[in-house]
Amino acid sequence: MATLSAMKEASVAPPPGRDQPVPRLTMSGVGKVFGAFTALANIDIAFHAGEVHCLLGENGAGKSTLCNIIYGLHSPSSGAMVCDGVSYAPANPKAALASGVAMVHQHFSLIPELSVLDNLLMGQRFGRLDRRGEAARIVTLAETYGLSLDPHALVADLSVGQRQRVEIVKCLMHNPKILILDEPTAVLLPDEITALLEICRRVADSGSAVVMVTHKLAEIEAIADRVTVLHRGIVAARSDRPAADMDGLVRAMIQRPDATGDDPAGLAQLSTRRHRPSGKAADEVAQLDGISLRDELGIARLQDVTLSIARGEIVGIAGVEGNGQTELGNMLAGLLHASDGRWFVEGQDLSKASPRQITEAGVGIVPEDRHRVGAVDRLSLADNIFLNRMPHYSRFGIIDRRRQVAAASTLAQQFDVRAAGMGVRFGSLSGGNQQKAVLARELTTPNLRFLLAAQPTRGLDVGAVKAVYSLIRDAADTGVGVLLISSELDELLAVADRIVVLYRGQIVGECTTDASNREQIGIWMSGKHT
């Protein structure tokens, strides 16, 4: 990450007003309540011209909510905002854009069916379009920020990084006074991140305020002029010298007094790494043999993935998101079939198996997307805990509710799933409890021999993370082979016995879990090995 740190020094000319900051936007006492849940409470914050202001915070801390309020997508439940000296209360994004506020969203807002150009022009004007002229103008604009893009390409054909660039150009077209970027770097490769931060700096230098949401400390170090930390909807810390205050910021973010900068989540403490020797051939539980997979557009998502997992072994799959992990997970879950290659559990070929057959073969699946794949949000906790096992609790096709709820209740207790009752809607549980419920189901799969856990701690707080780790480890200790897919390297280092790195659908490296391999893994993850 040397390039990142170097960049701040490289920014030679101090931007106008950096010494006597001019607030572009101030929020005072802003709060937001969703139903009974307070997402933001009494936020006071100011964004200044010429600065990059980073917002830091755990999942669910309220960062996106704050950004959405500025962009007019949510209206605040309380408080007021002032933009360039006048009272500011945008009713919708159009009003925000008119006031000079532009935003790159955490989830892209591009329409894949349309071309880049049409996406950029979307909603700008309604009359006849001079497509050629507009395209030229956009290319010129993009070039002044060092971005290249093909205005006539279909968005569906673009990579994530390219889409991100389109989103940014879309904002720049408004010549924004305030540019908001909500976790723009989450899905980018290291050089793409560097390029993005460079653009942020340029925009700030031109006198705008840049608001950037991120979880990544290196980025903050590289670019932030100011940092505000949110925790559970309130401002937990602020700093004008982020690089110097890093430790304190991290502590404020996770609210754990003992956290250190090197190990932000304190994962090392959770880890009781077992240096297992890699299994003998006879010990193999699961085997992936030359798996290749193409999506419906024919794009190769996995290429010749070969891997074996031994009894009791935890194999970690590392990689930047979007390098085939999702497809790998869906394939093992039986939702996709490999276009080439086969995979086995205890010698049983599951390449063409249905999800049910996979479960019956003793495979537990903790999917990456628990709302879409792992559960049915609108059914109850009890129903979700036994989603794949309801026949056990029914006779002659009629469900024995009493027996089911009793069993669910026992299981919930055993796995520490905290809920108001077994009848509450699964979707209303907090993220950690949802995840524990899914684990409860999958880990009690009859005759469990192989467990896939994809991003199992995403969106969970430290306590829940700890619980999940120990559940996975306990399973491995009983002889279950575990494949752990995670985009958090620290997590893999803490839990896995062995790490393989996925890049563009291929395994590009393998090593034991040792902190000293960290750099090498990073290189593999960024595709630099080639």
């Binding site: 939702l335 049910r356 559960a375 049915v376 059914l379 129903d383 989603l387 794949n388 096709g397």
Partner: protein, 352 residues
Amino acid sequence: MSSPSATLARIGPPLLAVLAALTVGLIVIVGMGAALDKALLAFWRGAFGNGYAISASLNRAVSLALVGIGFVIANRAALTNVGGEGQIAMGGIAATALCLFPPIAGLPLGLAFVVPLLGAALAGGAWGGIAGVLRTRSGTNEVIATLLLSFIATWLLYWCVQSEALLRQPMTSSATLPESLPIPEATHVPLLTGSYSSPVTLGLPITIALAAVAALVLARSLFGFRLSAVGLNPVGAARAGINVGGHIVSALFIAGAFGGLAGGLMLQGEQFSLKAGFSSGYGFDGLVVGLLARNSITGVLAGALLFGFMRSGGIAMEMGAGVPSALVSILQGLIVVLIAGVAYFQDRRSVR
């Protein structure tokens, strides 16, 4: 399972919508210069005045309820079956063909009417099932597919009664109408009352029983549970080992089978010979009943009774007070529009 206030919140708005529509109806009657008391009296007589009126309304309600129950079942899997009209037609065609197939009328133990009814259900089910297969195979939106199938079935029926090679009765005289032969007595659905002066058929208890079964299946059974899961989250359901495609096909098959059965009952219980226009809009009315019921089987029964009696009353009102029965269409339309609109205020809380 739900508190009184929750029940009120659920049934209050539809009730208000019905009342509002009826009020508009009264205003229209007065506006047209008809005598209100006379009109209302005629309406009452037509709907409840005698055994026949009540029976006719009940029979109509039976058809509407069957289509509505089918709709609710499919809707549990988040599928909208708008093909009731065609499913009734297919049921009618199948029932006619079977009833007129000589060996059937000779079957013992009531099988003579049961077999054609089953055939009707099967034919309607197949018609609905096609939409299900398309939905799972090529992702075709089931609203579009069932609607198109409905039109196709309507004209198939027309073809059947136009062509002697199909179901048209033999042209004994040049005046032979384009309809099927009347079906044999043995294949008629038995009357409960024993007299055609109040012709309530066995269709009524069959429907009540089916409604009870449907309510049980939806609330308590594994199948109902799986339909919900498929409807709420097909990917999650698939991962949980539920055969999503199979449940989609079954749901639409069942919806269609209910429609087909309605067709069979209409033919074997009331009309006795197949004609063009046989389904008479009951498919659409039944769909509306299903929609208004908001996924409750009890709601379906209530809606079916309301529409069934309203139509009878409307006919009598035209006869007795000169108020065109088009007024009934207006009221039905209003009720649908109002209830659909009011749903917003009911759903607002549970959104997203």
